[in-house]
Symmetry: D2
Subunit: 438 residues, 4 copies
């Protein structure tokens, strides 16, 4: 597996980044990239920009930058497009989000101001808490999809893009499950024409992306890329799909701490997580149907990491509770508090409390950058359909049917790194290292 049989196309020309949603995350992403290009900020948080990768033996001291190992799009080649349900331009949206300090915002005002959102696909039943003012009207969902496809074509032409990729950076949709319409491409397209209510806006975006032969990354916990109809379409069009739900904040912590406790075979009797956040995301999640979508995404990680079926004595009775609380005084600053009840040797109890004062968009923005660049790499490498190697970025990694997803951040990291080594024809790292001592 160490010989490179993969022919990766070079990353030449413009890469169009199509953002679904122009809110806190999208504007923070764009602002950061522009600030990095101007040299006034470092790309902190981004593996593609900062990460080194160890190659060969420890004693070889080969640690090139990831971006020197595989061909990635250059930041100077990115051009942005966006859809949003409000007409605010990027600068106005960033001001409302309140994430970016004013002195920085002033320096990149023009870049953001020029980013004007296209009219969005909107369906009130999937987002009861927000009142859209800037959206497409059409008689059926197929027409909405076609309107998006036209938007994409226009964007490509206007911006002279060589390649494009789309990523959902909008709020969480209401809870949804796989319906008959989702089960095949044909039934899905019928559903689009018939305005099937189980087809959500995010599915329409993904459909439009794949039809336009561009990849789609799902930054929220919406049901989108994993429905059979869209998997079928991605394969048919030869494009990558990844998701879902960018892993930040408390769940990131959970996939760091969970593997740590599991590595030590410490039992866990309870894990209580509460979050307070005050931005638009928090407002949307105040609606039970949207919270349910998020909750499912947040609850599943522990089971996969701890495997209670394999370890019933350790994790069979784990009581896991997750709460998200809308709390306006906090603004975009999110805060998580976790209480973890641990049981150790002799059955004796211990406790771990974690208080994470974090910032949602600050944690998410560099992931958007990495995902966009890696989706583009995947497409140029001929990888199509679900991109499990990008699990590292997601709360709910999508995997092929029959596989259990990997939530352990460190296994995800190794999967990502070994995939990059594989793409570059380098040896897999196993950490065995007995040979140093032989």
């Amino acid at each position: 597996m160490s010989t490179n049989t993969i022919n990766i196309k070079p990353a030449k020309g413009k890469l169009g980044v199509l953002l679904v949603g122009l809110g806190a995350v999208s504007t923070t992403f764009v602002a950061g990239v522009e600030a990095i290009k101007k040299g006034i900020r470092k790309p902190i948080g981004s593996l593609t920009q900062m990460g080194h990768i160890r190659l060969g033996k420890r004693t070889d001291n080969r640690n090139p930058l990831v971006k020197d190992l595989v061909p990635l799009a250059d930041l100077n080649d990115l051009v942005y497009g966006a859809w949003d349900i409000f007409p605010d331009n990027g600068y106005e949206a960033a001001c409302k989000a309140g994430v970016i300090p004013m002195d920085l915002l002033d320096q990149i005002k023009d870049d953001l101001q020029n980013l004007r959102p296209m009219a969005a696909v909107y369906d009130k039943s999937y987002c009861r808490k927000l009142e859209a003012t800037h959206y497409k009207k059409a008689d059926n969902k197929m027409l909405l999809a076609e309107s998006l496809i036209k938007d994409i074509e226009n964007f490509k032409t206007k911006n002279k893009c060589d390649r494009m990729t789309m990523i959902w950076c909008a709020s969480t949709e209401a809870f949804n499950t796989v319906s008959d319409s989702h089960k095949s491409l044909r039934s899905f397209e019928d559903g689009l024409k018939n305005n099937d209510p189980t087809i959500s806006p995010s599915m329409i975006y993904a459909y439009a992306a794949f039809k336009s032969r561009i990849g789609y990354a799902n930054g929220a916990p919406n049901l989108t890329g994993e429905i059979p109809a869209l998997i079928e379409l991605a394969h048919e069009m030869g494009v990558p799909s990844s998701g879902k739900d960018l892993k930040t904040g408390q769940t990131l912590m959970k996939t760091i701490l969970g593997p740590g406790l599991a590595a030590r075979y410490l039992a866990i009797s309870g894990w209580f997580s509460t979050n307070i956040l005050g931005n638009r995301d928090g407002e949307v999640l105040d609606a039970p149907e949207n919270f349910k979508t998020k909750e499912e995404s947040k609850l599943s990680v522990l089971e996969s990491i701890l495997r209670p079926s394999l370890y019933p004595d350790l994790y069979g009775n784990l009581y896991h509770k997750v709460r998200i609380e809308y709390y306006p005084p906090r603004g975009d600053n999110k805060e998580g508090w976790d209480n973890i009840d641990i049981v150790g040797w002799l059955g004796l109890p211990m406790q771990l409390k974690v208080n994470f004062l974090c910032r949602d968009s600050i944690l998410a923005a560099p992931l958007v950058l990495d995902v966009v660049l890696f989706m583009d790499l995947a497409q140029r490498s001929g990888l199509k359909g679900l991109q499990e190697w990008l699990s590292f970025y997601y709360k709910s990694p999508m995997v092929k049917e029959g596989l259990t997803p990997i939530h352990n951040l460190f296994h995800q990291e190794l999967k990502l790194m070994n995939t990059l080594r594989h793409l570059a024809g380098e040896t897999q790292i196993t950490f065995l290292g007995l040979d140093y001592y032989m």
Copy 2:
């Protein structure tokens, strides 16, 4: 590397476990093993007893117990010996330590009461805070070593041991650095005869162990197994050596959280760690010279995980401060509080606070069990000298000169697991998994 060329001797007969120090950790270890044998407790915290190991592909669903993959000593074959500077038997020592609940202690009283410590090697200059009452008197350190060797022989004969291993479970010694006497076996033996003050009690124990052809594991941060003289001796006698400083509590957390933050390329500007603990360990560490030994062990982990030389923008200015505070109200219950100052995208600050209400001996005891069983496995497998694959258990893993130690708990875990797979002739796991999708 997937074909087993290793011939592991079977784990038949009694395994003698020689404990240096019969305090909280040792008695909790023995109490737990006896409670497990009686079926009144589960071996929570022990990889060798509870751990499953994935073999082959994810879809193979092969997850045997570790102890079914490689031949480990059975708990029923363990017999314990101990040295201590106080004459209390195991039951008395356990009562003073106050770790084990009374109702459990009553059920294993006999097992502990029969464990009477042999007179210890003691040197006041290495442990100023404790006043020993039960120790060997001799004209020089070589005579002390010979006395230990005789103890070992007697123990083996009396208990009909097939194999033995020794592990340091006593308090931290005063700070020490490599001296001329430490640099070769010959100069070391001269030093023993001449009472060189740089030769500490722990070195005398390790010398006695190796001379008796048994492995030595270093559970404390003392300077012991890494001095050239003892590495030379271990190789000469063909025995394994591992260490040092069992990784529990706050440092365990640090090697879980550190890799998590580093995986996300989040910058860290400060990491402040304070500990409060009230047991004998805390009292000993109240002496600056002993704290210094511990501090060095605790401070080094972050540098190795974060690699500021590779990531100067992220970790070049990290201010790392570690405090240990003797606080009697807490007893054996240790508590750590960490404040971590993080910097993310756009240079914006975030904070992470971790409060770990843990119990030192409860976290350490299962590690003692695992280390003992794996040291025995190593010796039966013909692995001699430093056992880097056991880094997983230690705050300051000892490695071959020229290698940098691995502190990342997850890399350590993978190293351990892949070593076990290697010993058993199974394929290395790399988490690549692209083949599922091809």
Copy 3:
């Protein structure tokens, strides 16, 4: 006001303590009193047993015990009665509650075993989560009240009580508001006969108490003692009434911290409080209608302490959110986490986080003792109707119409202490103290 014009009857003979509910709080209260009487525990947490009171000038050094200043019932004179919706005796109930350590429970087993509950008044609509098995059946609520009155008479005769007092120690009832039936004694008695659904079990207990000329203390946030009908009856019968909702845990902290921040004129923009608890109380509060009762009680304290109408710039925009989460791993150990967003000089933000690992029944039990003894003191002192001076013990102090309740713990404490001084004919303490310097 410094001359004692109050004639307090002596505390001679037996005092019957009638407990509504024989769960965690009641059994912990009884267990503690019995352990104190046996000399195996100290009365920690009880002002009546431990408290000293300063009299006169600071330089006088007069600090007698409170119980030496005013005549209180002796612990040896207490006899207990109880009603419960389950037939378990005190020992069985204590075992289920899991609050009292086994070794202590063994020493007071007989005292608890002899406490067998009388059949309770039960109404499923006020406590949906519990399925009662031990309750009175009668055609209307007046007959239930009469059955209680008979219970009280029997108890008094059988136990040769000189005096009695009743206290609600059961779970929180469903949310209730003042109805027409509550507005006068006449309409209330009609309601009892007509089975008015707005008359809750707690009201029936209080009615029975007052009709029996004994005081009633309300340990839960139920709507009871403050309805006009019961105020009228208490005055008519000349008995004291106090309440409501024993102040423990997070709200106790809130009435400590709130006054502290207010004393410093620090603005508060948000106060988020979450609680995790796993006992029967937590289970009952998992029902929204019961939580609402508790939430009202918990939310009101800050407004009264901070007075946003007087301080709109400081507290006019305070976002206050309280959550209670049922979390079984915690058992009777309750845990609160508070995040307080403070704004100071120059409008700059600060944060305060409070994590209280407490035990509900342990905090409540000594308050039950104090309230019982002070209610008896009030009755012997001729104080009737609402006892505002006992506000110190309650989350939602009941006050005369037209007065605002005092929630500041320190104002409540001063009110209590100055009332005791007043009852004993001692000078009020004002802390002025300028005379020392004149």
Copy 4:
């Protein structure tokens, strides 16, 4: 005591505020006052500016502003002077302190820039960590005092002050105890002339203030106002003296929480407090001799509040430990973490953890304002010598010999408020309130 016999002179004309030290606290104080005068900030944190005071009965609804009850200097009448060991003007000093946000600083730049410090009195042995560049040179300490007196006269003339007051806002001096020179005014003046090393800079400032017939407030824990020589001088000159150590941060919390736990008679077995701070204050306190001064001030509060001699069962074995850690990443943002081990009913343990993310200067600045205005009020009211009624503001209130200081924040608050009521001829508030029910 309710008839006003006190004749308070009106607050007419300019009030000179003489600041010893022009660092973070002083500049934040001045900046805030100027911002308030310009109407761009509210005087959050200041009792004199924001506080209302209840007068009469609760039903009277009389809650005037404090500043409407007693005559206080108007903010528009304040003029500032300062001494510092560095020559930076107020704007430069504020920039270095980094407390005030840049956008605010810009709006008050002129006010701060005009504030140029006079050369300070400096003695390296009292502040080893800072290297002064702007200080008075003279042959003996009496000459230094006379230089200060001249500074004061010049300042008064130049600024046309009607009255003046001095307050120490500089760093903590090295630990000092009462020496022979401190015991009488005569020996003190001899000491000044003979350069007695036990006479610290702060004593020289206070001496100069009193000799100039102006009050001196001690914002740090230095030994100053409580030495007999300076008490004697204050009385002789008829001026007020108050101190010491402005109560902010963790100690503020301690005097809020301590009284709360004590009010409930909860035992405390341990209280561990650690602080991390990164400003100049933290750097100075990194020197053991300066930390000792602070530690004494911090440790004493609990003993006075909890009174272990009266409550040996509750507080006789309290283990109290306080740490201050210099931690540069935190800058002026101070952070305290407290762990409090509580014991309740039945002797069962509970824990309270408090994490206070505060800002030293933001908490201190409004106290400077209040103290300055109240010192001026005291002087106009004829109150001379120690002003115990200002204990509310200090960590270590100075009291008359023979009195124990009051540390309970709420008793301090009542003392302050009742003193104001007394000065204004209003009735003392006792919170008795039984009359509402009679």
